[in-house]
Amino acid sequence: MRRRILGLGFVCAWLCAGSISLRAQEFKVFGRTVQVHGFASQGFVYTNDNNWLTMNTSQGSAAFTDFGLNTSYQVTDKLRVGAQGYDRNLGQLGQYHPSLDWAVADYRFKSWLGIRGGKVKTTLGLYTDTQDLDFLQAFALLPQSVYPTDLREATIAHLGGDIYGDISLKHRLGDLSYTAYAGHRSDSIYSGYPYYLSSFGARITSFGGLQYGADLRWRNPVKGLLIGASRLNEDITGRGSALNPFNLAAGLVPYSEASKADWANQFYGRYTVGRLRIESEYRRYWRNQDLFNGTSESFADVHGWYVSGAYRICKRLQIGSYYSRYTITNTVAGALAAFYPPATDTSLPDNHDYDKVITGRVDLNKFWNVKIEGHFMNGYGSGPYPNGFYTQVNPQGFSPNTNALVLKTSLNF
């Protein structure tokens, strides 16, 4: 509790100070510039019914805070190094345990070939690598069907490397940007999936594994149009302890789960014309894994897509709306099948979450914005893989519809 109060106090003080003076810091080391930048956001969420995103939102919750600070240094003309620390508290998640968000050495040989290594932000669709950066988005919450904020650790970064570049196509066919990556994903034990497993009495002590994939995006000759595709493969193992469902009296026993097949495909497009920006993305996530030390196996199939539009009315005011659709099906085979009947009917609220959203963003100045957003959700998609709604904070059960009011403010420098 003390950590929360301290963290919240720090952010509030920063938000207040921000209106007085806020600027990026720059200084020289060996004749080259070191830059320091940072950001912070504070949100408040109220829902008319189900508690959402692990917060006690039906009472109104401000446990929605994050902040980060980075520095970068151009070592030589082609070599740059940098790192960013990040911390957040989202209901039961994060809990102000700071993490190294990214720390990279980046060497660019040519425009068409560069490498970066260290802890690198993962390129997956339009927003995976920028999902924490509230000040860049029109919306207070990105479409949760594709960018579930409670599961950010699943895709946010990998300890490994990227190969990337930009290629200009002949005959005015536009530009291609590519990224190929491989590394190790390591989830915080304060992230969404370990929290979800805790509802079954599991205590996860480590969760992570190999992650590799690629992204290709095309800025094509139609002015303002970007289209792209991403692929992600994973081989993830989780370890810890759990209650044995067949013998509860035995207490906690060693628990493990491991990927048999784990991948995501994502397709996306963005069209910007004047002050209007239209975007759409589709992600399919397939997960087949051994559960409970190989005694069972689960098959989860997640489909998420959204269409969004944002319009800047004037320099200070932007409005937007999106429709986000999430469905999940799941079957379990083996010893645990008796506990988990097949969930294949996506028309049931337990297996979907349809979210209609309207938002307004006011830019108080170049560095500080305030957003107000309404969510009108049908379904709670609380099935075998979490999507914002957790049984631990909804012990009374779920209602099929949830309306949410989100207020958020963020700063950056």
Binding site: A24, T33, Q35, H37, F39, G68, N70, S72, Q74, D77, K78, R80, G82, A83, Q84, W102, A103, V104, D106, R108, K110, S111, R116, V120, K121, D129, T130, L133, F135, L136, D166, S168, L169, K170, H171, R172, L173, K223, T272, R312, K315, K366, N412
Partner: protein, 228 residues
């Protein structure tokens, strides 16, 4: 007292000098370490989007931006096809994901010229009327049909003495049709002072590009700075 023989000339300059030309609103400047005399819009865009940190000839470059003003707006519109908000968002994505850094931003033409003059590889833009003392001015080539051809022979235009004496400068925009062999087939004036344009056209007709299998067009901006 102005020489009376110059009146008709000045009248012509006054009449045509105000013809709005986009490139006439700014000029591109670079540190003397930059070897190139011209740069294509495609390459320029990559430099300012931090997709490139060296030109095709291997020279290291780094972009410098102006914080606002007509030259900044014209540069964004004509060379980057972007708004200031979109460009700032783009740079912030780079900065906060570890994929780039914020380029140097300065508040006035004088500050940019001073910074570019002392910083190896710096490329920036200033208003067309700004002094370019201590820096070199780069021509901008707009390659129209996607085939980038390198300029291998460049002849500088002769500055008309009278205009120089009267401190009259500006930027001339020309569209060139380049023959497959690399010579200039034809030149079309897109904008700029007609007297400066005459000198510019005479010079570019002597330019040579690398050969290509087809005829290409390129748009070039040629600055005339009376203080240089």
């Amino acid at each position: 007292m102005m020489n009376h023989r110059l009146f008709p000339l000045v009248a012509v300059v006054m009449m045509f000098g105000s013809v709005p030309t986009v490139a006439g609103e700014f000029k591109l400047i670079a540190n003397s370490s930059v070897k190139a005399d011209s740069i294509s819009t495609g390459e320029l865009k990559k430099v300012f989007l931090e997709e490139k940190n060296a030109l095709h000839d291997g020279t290291h470059v780094e972009p410098v931006l102006e914080k606002g003003g007509p030259a900044h707006q014209a540069f964004l519109r004509e060379c980057l096809g972007s708004t200031d908000d979109d460009l700032q968002t783009y740079y912030r994505v780079l900065v906060f994901t570890g994929k780039g850094s914020m380029p140097k931003e300065l508040g006035s033409d004088a500050e940019i010229v001073a910074y570019v003059a002392k910083t190896r590889g710096a490329i920036g833009y200033v208003s067309a009327e700004a002094s370019a003392e201590g820096v070199k001015t780069l021509a901008i080539e707009d390659v129209r049909n996607g085939v980038e051809r390198k300029l291998i022979t460049r002849v500088e235009p002769a500055y008309p003495e009278t205009l120089k004496r009267l401190n009259i400068g500006g930027t001339v925009r020309l569209q060139l049709t380049v023959a497959p062999k690399g010579n200039i087939e034809s030149v079309q004036l897109l904008g700029g002072n007609p007297i400066l344009a005459e000198a510019a056209v005479a010079a570019v007709k002597q330019w040579m590009y690398t050969p290509s299998h087809s005829r290409t067009t390129a748009e070039v901006s040629i600055p005339f700075d009376p203080k240089r």
